[in-house]
């Protein structure tokens, strides 16, 4: 027999350790684990994921962009329908040659700490964005400014030579290199929004923490817990009033969780296609809270025109004609995506896309035989690159099957890669075929068509056509919008019907879930840009 003390020690050690100790830990973490009673909010939004940053100059993603446009405001902004309206600038004039824009800043424009916002804030914020040391991946949106590109790439060190001046606190004069029809769209984008530089100077890397972050948009940042929530509160100094005073933004990434939160009434608005389970879209589509609208994004297939057999136009054309795109949108994407025969999605009132190529398997077989591969015989082994995510994987598999069925080609192999690796492979043009997509930055065909300029950073097909390049240069100098659109249409005709380095597959659809008795002011728009400041109470609930 051991001593009683040792016995009792032996008996109680596990219980004391595990029970008592962990209960103490629990009590400790109850106070330090982030459990706080958050105040009631007017609106809860599922935003799709945790934002990488809230610095408007650095932001590249859509979900960060939505937050940024609630916090900041550029010279112009958008209404619920996505149309450009005055923002921080109350008015502007454009010189007849389309090269000089003179913005008048609102006299009552203020930051969320009550300090006045002036033209100098824009001047210095743009300087910061363009400065290569800032590391802004979207700084090219300021390359339209005279000398903007030279400064942005570090060739020019003197910012005073860049085409933006602030003669007084209320006036901002912008000079462009060529007439840019969509410049007022750019000024509404987060990259061109002003930041509170005094705060950045004071807090350094911590400047966007709640309490530090001063913004000029409809909301300011009240709280931000990583992967937990962001709390936005109406900015009392904003030039107009917003309906929803306090918005809670959830970073919920899992689509099923988003839908569960919505169904149980914990979330009022879901605004990302990725936040709705793809397999349930068919069932959800008939619900009154389901809203879908086409927007400016296109899924397409890239050919590597520098490799055999895709250096042969007939092969590219044959593969394009053999794809039954209807099959893809009906079987796989299922959210009502329109089939795409052109790269530029319909939606710009002034632009009329050319008539693209339609599904025609007979012609496809003829062309393939003509190119030397009758019935797919002798077709070399090629690989189709795609990002290893559910939709691209299914689309790739479907296309592989379609080519086998229609053309008899059995040597197309699938090569799915993890997202970051896929981006790397695509940027090295190390593929034969590649499933890609593009979402426009602004509502203008140029955001799609300038990609394919010779050696363009986003061309990534090896394709080059001097006529195409010449037309792009030409389009940039034309001030007349109708003439300009005609040139752009000519370019797209080359791209999708004549040379075909790409095959458009389908246009994107934006999906949002909300109940109209809770919220209004959310209208379909081409850029899928729904500013939270523009959301309103439903008519009948208005006080």
């Amino acid at each position: 027999m051991s001593l009683p003390t040792r016995r009792s020690l032996g008996r109680w050690v596990p219980l004391t350790f595990l029970g008592g100790g962990l209960l103490l830990l629990l009590a400790f973490f109850y106070f330090f684990g982030g459990w706080s009673l958050s105040p009631p909010v007017d609106l809860t939004i599922c935003n799709g994921d945790e934002p990488q940053t809230l610095d408007p100059a650095i932001i590249t993603g859509q979900l960060e962009g939505r937050l940024a446009l609630a916090l900041y405001e550029g010279l112009t902004t958008r209404n619920a329908r996505g149309e450009i309206i005055p923002g921080m600038a109350e008015s502007w004039t454009i010189s007849p040659d389309g090269l000089t824009y003179t913005f008048k800043i609102r006299p009552d424009a203020k930051w969320s700490n009550g300090e006045p916002l002036t033209a100098y804030d824009f001047l210095h914020s743009w300087e910061r964005t363009l400065n290569p040391e800032t590391g802004s991946q979207y700084s090219y949106q300021l390359y339209y400014l005279a000398n903007g590109e030279a400064y942005g790439t570090g060739k020019l060190k003197d910012f005073t030579q860049v085409g933006v001046k602030a003669p007084d606190a209320q006036t901002l004069v912008v000079t462009l290199t060529h007439p840019t029809a969509f410049f007022l769209e750019l000024t509404s984008f987060q990259t061109l929004c002003p930041v509170y530089l005094a705060g950045i100077a004071k807090y350094g890397n911590d400047w966007m923490k709640p309490g530090h972050l001063i913004s000029n948009g409809p909301y300011y940042l009240k709280a931000w817990r990583l992967n937990d929530y962001i709390l936005l509160e109406a900015n009392p100094y904003y030039w107009t009033k917003v309906d929803f005073k306090r918005i809670k933004v959830l970073p919920t990434a899992n689509a099923t969780t988003c839908l569960n939160l919505f169904s149980s009434g914990k979330v009022d608005l879901i605004l990302d296609k990725n936040s709705v389970p793809a397999s349930l879209v068919d069932d959800l589509r008939n619900e009154p809270y389901f809203h879908a609208n086409p927007f400016g994004g296109t899924a397409f297939l890239r050919f590597n025109v520098t490799r055999k057999p895709f250096d042969d136009l007939r092969v590219r054309k044959a593969l394009a004609l053999a794809i039954n795109k209807e099959d893809i949108v009906r079987k796989i994407t299922r959210a009502g995506e329109p089939v795409a025969d052109t790269l530029v999605p319909p939606g710009n009132a002034d632009y009329h896309p050319p008539d693209g190529l339609h599904y025609n398997p007979d012609e496809a077989r003829r062309l393939l035989a003509e190119a030397g591969y009758p019935g797919g015989q002798g077709f070399p082994d090629v690989q189709m690159l795609y990002a290893k995510r559910s939709t691209p994987e299914q689309v790739a598999t479907e296309m592989q099957a379609l080519w086998q069925k229609e053309l008899g080609i059995t040597s197309i192999h699938l090569r799915g890669q993890e997202w970051k690796v896929y981006l790397n492979t695509q940027s090295l043009i190390d593929f034969d075929l590649c499933l890609s997509a593009w979402v426009g930055d602004y509502n203008d065909p140029q955001t799609f068509l300038d990609m394919f300029v010779t050696n363009g950073g986003n061309n990534l097909t090896g394709w080059s056509n001097p006529t195409y390049d010449k037309l792009l240069d030409q389009s940039e100098t034309i001030a007349n919008p109708v003439e300009r659109m005609k040139v752009l249409q000519e370019m797209e005709k080359i791209l999708v019907t004549e040379d075909m380095p790409i095959v458009p597959l389908y246009y994107y659809v934006g999906i949002s879930l909300y109940r109209s008795d809770k919220m209004a002011g959310f209208e379909p728009n081409f850029v899928d840009d729904h500013r939270w400041g523009a959301l309103t109470f439903p008519e009948k609930k208005k006080p």
Partner: protein, 305 residues
């Protein structure tokens, strides 16, 4: 005892050093760039970003600069969450995972040990078979099946509990149960197995011969010895459960660190990856030490070298 603890703590330092080094180097050697996205980044901007995040120059020079910071306790800035340091992120996320994991661990113990004992006493009878079938199910049904199933029943259908989120006590119940079930099952099977071994031993026969009631034999004598293998299992298990779970945290929208283990790799965020691996390794080493010390205290047959 003090020598054991000191030696193990000292050994932990090179272990952690190697683990962090390997993680960082593997992340930097893997294809894919932390800053890449669908739009091409101008080369001068990419160079600037790499400079800002200390990812310029050769991999070895990146590594030495990074480790230089690590030894000073600075885990650098995450390349994914651009304005947060890894220290910041861990400080916010780790307590969340530990709270959830701690509760799940308690649940697992309080469900697993009685279930195992219950089965052991009824060895090879129907009740044993049923209990072990339940445990087998708990072990083999993956959490990405179990969690949505429980959410569907308890949250969506019956509205007893919230579907997801963090911030109130009722939101912790479902995720804690989902997290606890596989551990409870493992603990139940371990307890049963080890109890069966112990119940065959002489001292149990002696205890019964003395006329002790069966409950006293089981709980006061048998279980005390049977708990030892359980403790060596619980050390590493606790390290795992306290550092969160990707599936549970994603499905229940919990701001813990579990999701960073996978996401930081997908995002090619070398700092975050090395940071979470460091935390997990430190937990693992510490918990192993704690379980070894506990075993020494409880079982006098184990000699400290």
């Amino acid at each position: 005892m003090t020598t054991l603890i000191t030696r193990r703590l000292l050994l932990a330092i090179p272990t952690l050093f190697i683990v962090v080094s390997l993680t960082f180097l593997l992340m930097r050697l893997a294809p894919g760039n932390p800053f890449s996205n669908e739009r091409k980044i101008p080369p001068e901007i990419l160079a600037e970003l790499e400079k800002q995040y200390n990812l310029n120059g050769s991999v070895s020079s990146q590594y030495f600069r990074y480790m230089g910071k690590v030894v000073r306790g600075d885990l650098s800035i995450s390349t994914q969450y651009r304005n947060r340091t890894v220290n910041d992120i861990l400080a916010q996320a780790l307590p969340v995972s530990m709270l959830l994991g701690g509760l799940a661990f308690l649940l697992a113990l309080f469900a697993g040990i009685p279930l195992g004992a219950f089965a052991a006493v009824r060895h090879n009878r129907a009740a044993d078979r049923v209990a072990m079938l339940v445990a087998l199910l708990g072990l083999s049904v993956p959490s990405f099946v179990l969690a949505p199933l429980l959410v569907m029943l308890f949250a969506v259908k019956w509205h007893w509990l919230p579907v997801a989120g963090w911030g109130s006590p009722d939101q912790i119940i479902l995720p804690a149960i989902c997290l606890a079930i596989p551990f409870a099952a493992a603990i139940a099977r371990l307890t049963r197995g080890s109890l069966l071994d112990v119940l065959k031993l002489d001292f149990i026969r002696t205890a019964r011969a003395k006329g002790l009631p069966e409950d006293a034999v089981l709980y006061r004598h048998a279980l005390k010895s049977a708990i030892l293998p359980l403790i060596s299992y619980c050390g590493p298990a606790l390290a795992g459960i306290l550092t969160g779970s990707l599936v549970i945290e994603t499905l229940f929208d919990i701001p813990g660190i579990g999701r960073f283990f996978v996401n930081s790799v997908l995002n090619r965020d070398p700092m975050m990856s090395a940071g979470v691996v460091l935390v997990f390794s430190a937990f693992l080493l510490f918990m192993n030490l704690v379980s070894d010390v506990l075993i020494c205290l409880l079982d006098r047959r184990v000699k400290i070298e």
